[in-house]
């Protein structure tokens, strides 16, 4: 399923503009060390973490998009970095469990 379709069906708010990639999986983590050892390319990363190191880790793995839960908002420097490396950023007021449940209901594993 494409990012745009997921965003529409789950009420995500786009933070930046990026390529509308097909999501191949989901990974939930707030730790950069965990992301680089366990996440896969083209996943949708769900996180609370808004530190720059998250983008550095996500880019290394080729993460397609990041969803910041619980209304967390990244700083402009993080948005600029995500734009530079082509990672789509989204925000939601949902907590991690609620948003992950929405993805499950869409059939995304």
């Amino acid at each position: 399923m494409k990012i745009s379709e997921i965003a529409k069906k789950t009420g995500l708010k786009a933070i930046n503009e990026s390529e509308d990639k097909v999501i191949e999986g989901v990974y939930i983590s707030d730790m950069a060390s965990d992301i680089i050892t366990n996440a896969k390319a083209n996943v949708l990363l769900i996180t609370l973490q808004t530190h720059k190191t998250l983008i550095a880790a996500a880019n290394l793995i080729d993460v397609a998009a990041i969803v910041f839960v619980k209304g967390k908002k990244p700083g402009n420097d993080i948005i600029e970095l995500a734009n530079k490396v082509g990672i789509a950023l989204f925000g939601t007021e949902d907590d991690t469990w609620t948003f992950a449940s929405k993805l499950t209901r869409l059939g995304i594993q």
Partner: protein, 177 residues
Amino acid sequence: MGEGMGTCNHKWEMTDILYGYLVVEGCPRCGGRASFFSTEPVAPIDEYKEGDHFWIYLGSSQATKFNLKCTKCDDVVHLDDLMGLMMSTCEEPQCEVANIAKSEGKGTSVYVALCANSTHFSGKCISAKGIDALNKYFNQNIKTPGKKILVVPCSKCCDIDICKGIVIADVGLTDIY
């Protein structure tokens, strides 16, 4: 039985993954930086003399260490000297890393492989074999067309205190809530 190591077109995977702390120390006498990886429950904080150096604790963050293993021939590249990876954002004109990034262009992200001793007094940094394996590992998994990861050793940095970048470590975790 895997392919012969000399002819194998390696397919790397992470192995021997450890989670712990990246501890950074500094020597006020020479300005050197040293780091080590600790798997102790709490990051050790020590001050000690080593030859002409007097190492003091500068900080620590949660981090990970790993080796790379070929799934075809079982060859293992040990990355004992790899203390971390730093996404380069350096634009210093005299910095080799910055110049590499500039010459590579938009689709390439340059990451610096950080070794244990930034002063490189011993002449050692991450091995060429290690850098080669890291490059193949991270690029083999990329799916975005035109995207490339380029890993370079920290010996190419202009100065570890000046060279700009984002170290992949779990800093800022106390800020997320």
